[in-house]
Structures are given as structure tokens and as C-alpha cells.
């Protein structure tokens, strides 16, 4: 199960950062996930919940922000994809862009190089600390 090992990595990183900053509780964990990564946000959130039981992160809100794919084309275009067009041409009609066969350049229509959209970034955490005073 792919998501479990990723959740382990996220949990370890979050706990290390929280500890470093003297957290008594982790309130939010915000993630950025590329829409081409083979990761399911709901499963990841579930795994994180299981892992964080009885830790200072057990009540944390797990927020996932999606990053759209970005392209670079030989015609010179760099930018995001035309999702509607890709879905029209994809025989699976899937919401999962990772399953679209080809990422066309929205300008010239040729298959373009994928330059972004596979990320999985722990963007930030919100923590509570003891009042110093």
C-alpha cells in the first residue's frame, strides 16, 4: 500500500518539525499534491490519522491542495494543461489526469513534456506552543 509509506514519511517529518519548534499540539497539516502523482488524498489522510493516534498530531486537520500539471512544449509554450480538452480525448473519462494518455500542448496540440504535477509537498504545519510568559 503506497499511501502508508508516504504517510509514514509525512508523519515523521511533521513530528520532527513540531518537536523542533516546541509544539504541544499540531493543529493543521497542509499538503500540496500534484494531480499526476499516483497518490490518493483520502487514503493518505486516513493513513496519517492512524499513524498519528496518541500523538500531538492526532487531532490535526489534514488539508490537501492539488497542483495542476504543467507542460513544456517544443513550440515554446510553458504553462498548465487544458484539462477539458485532455478529458475529451481520454477514453477513460477519468477525473484522474494521471490516466490521460497524452498531455497535449494547449497552443499547438502536440504531445508536450510534463514538467510539473507529480509533487507531494508538506507545505506547512500549524502548531500550538506553551505561552512563554
Amino acid at each position: 500500500m503506497h499511501e502508508f509509506s508516504i504517510a509514514c514519511e509525512i508523519f515523521e517529518q511533521v513530528m520532527a518539525t513540531a518537536k523542533e519548534h516546541g509544539a504541544t499540539e499540531v493543529k493543521h497539516v497542509t499538503l500540496q499534491m500534484g494531480r499526476l502523482s499516483h497518490t490518493n488524498p483520502d487514503q493518505l489522510s486516513f493513513c496519517f490519522k492512524v499513524l498519528s493516534e496518541e500523538s500531538i498530531a492526532e487531532n490535526a486537520d489534514f488539508i490537501v491542495e492539488m497542483i495542476p500539471p504543467s507542460l513544456e512544449c517544443e513550440c515554446g509554450y510553458t504553462g498548465t494543461v487544458d484539462e477539458e480538452k485532455i478529458r475529451e480525448n481520454c477514453e477513460f473519462k477519468s477525473e484522474l489526469l494521471a490516466y490521460a494518455a497524452v498531455m497535449e500542448c494547449p497552443i499547438c496540440g502536440k504531445p508536450a513534456q510534463i514538467t510539473g504535477g507529480r509533487e507531494l509537498i508538506i507545505k506547512s504545519i500549524e502548531i500550538e506552543t506553551e505561552d512563554q510568559n
Binding site: 493543529k27 477514453e91 507531494l120 507545505k123 500549524e126 502548531i127
Partner: protein, 223 residues
């Protein structure tokens, strides 16, 4: 109580990529050519690796990292061919990652290895996101998986350096058009070399083995 927002910017996949880069540097230092062999369960990864070992082991010093969820059946098949084999049981995981390979590399005698064959866990999805530090990424697909399998798993074909369509001798029996499979691969990745193989067709195996040997030689020339 005080609330703080702490920016982390830690990319989980990039963290794996960094370890993979470290693995690759280590392999380069010892001039070891490494191949990541990916493909579904039953696609013929172990069989095709065995053929490479049989034909090249007298010319090159070969080692194998055999990834499997739990059993050691594959590694015992490689050991029978008298090559050093490191089994990596991923336990709960569906893919090898760079850290697992980093650990396995500690057990490989890199000074005495020319070719490192890494058999990934049987899966067409998860290995895509995890680089290992390999020089060559190979995906093996068999006709028994059906000729729509390629478009169902585009990312692995887009990110591979070589695609092998295996068991083509039984394509007719399973009502599959191997040429359609080849066309599908090329529609996803127009420049990828595609080889059709069958364990009963020596010529096709020779093409597969020669490809690996040529890439190995090319790496040495580049160095």
C-alpha cells in the same frame, strides 16, 4: 497558548529522488550499470532477467537486487545461476524505493560488479513515482495482460527507457494484437525502443540481451 504556522516545503518524492541521485553517483563511481526492471505480476520479469544473467555472466560480473513483497522465490531462482543476489522484501509496500536500494547496495560488492539488475515489485503503478538511481528503466508487459493494458497505465510507459512486450508467442491464444500494444506504447512515448519477446524464440531474447549489453557498453564509453 500560542499558534504558529511553520513553512516546511518538504517534497516527499524529491526526498526519494535525492537518495536515488546518491545511489546513482555511487554506482557511477564503481562503474556499475544498473537496470530497474518493472512490470506487472506474471509479466516475465524474472525469466527475462534470468536470460540476461545466463548469456552475460561469463562476460560481466552481475549482481541482482530482487524486490518482492514477502517471498524469496525470485531471489532463489537467481542464486541458482550463481550470481550474488540480495532479496529485498518490501513487506507491506508495492514498490522498491531509493532508500531500500541504498540499503541493499551496502550488500553488493560494487568493486566486483559490472551490471546490477534490479527486479522491482510486480506493479504497473507505484514504481513510477520512485526512482532508484538506475541508469535504465525497463517496463515489461506480457500479452496475457490484454492489449488495453498500456493505455490503462500510461505513466510507466511514458517514463521508461525501454519497453518489452513479452510472451508474444501466445498472443493469438489470448486474442491479443501485440502490434496494437506496440503502437499504444509509441503513442505514449514516441522515442522509446520497443522489443517483442518470447522465451521460446531465441532471436527475440538475443535482441533483449543485446540491448542491455549495448547500454552497458555505452555507459562505459561515456565515462
Amino acid at each position: 497558548m500560542l499558534m504558529h504556522v511553520i513553512d516546511m516545503g518538504h517534497d516527499v518524492y524529491k526526498a526519494n529522488d535525492k537518495v536515488a541521485e546518491k545511489n546513482k553517483k555511487k554506482l557511477d563511481k564503481y562503474q556499475v550499470f544498473s537496470v530497474n526492471v518493472m512490470g506487472a505480476i506474471g509479466s516475465g520479469k524474472t525469466t527475462l532477467i534470468e536470460e540476461v544473467i545466463r548469456q552475460l555472466k561469463d562476460k560481466y560480473r552481475i549482481a541482482v537486487i530482487a524486490g518482492d513483497v514477502i517471498a524469496e522465490m525470485d531471489s532463489s531462482r537467481f542464486r541458482k545461476l550463481d550470481v550474488p543476489t540480495i532479496p529485498v522484501n518490501t513487506g507491506k509496500e508495492c514498490h522498491l524505493d531509493a532508500k531500500l536500494v541504498e540499503k541493499a547496495l551496502d550488500e553488493v560488492d560494487l568493486n566486483n560488479t559490472d551490471l546490477l539488475l534490479i527486479e522491482n515489485v510486480g506493479n504497473l503503478i507505484c514504481p513510477v513515482d520512485f526512482k532508484l538511481g538506475e541508469h535504465l528503466r525497463v517496463v515489461i508487459v506480457s500479452v496475457t495482460e490484454g492489449d488495453d493494458i498500456i493505455l490503462k497505465h500510461p505513466m510507466i510507459f511514458k517514463t521508461s527507457d525501454l519497453a518489452v512486450i513479452n510472451k508474444v508467442d501466445i498472443a493469438h491464444a489470448v486474442d491479443v494484437d501485440a502490434e496494437k500494444m506496440r503502437d499504444d506504447i509509441l503513442s505514449l512515448n514516441p522515442n522509446v525502443p520497443v522489443i517483442l519477446t518470447s522465451k521460446h524464440d531465441w532471436e527475440s531474447l538475443e535482441t533483449w540481451i543485446s540491448f542491455i549489453e549495448l547500454e552497458l557498453k555505452n555507459l562505459r564509453i561515456d565515462k
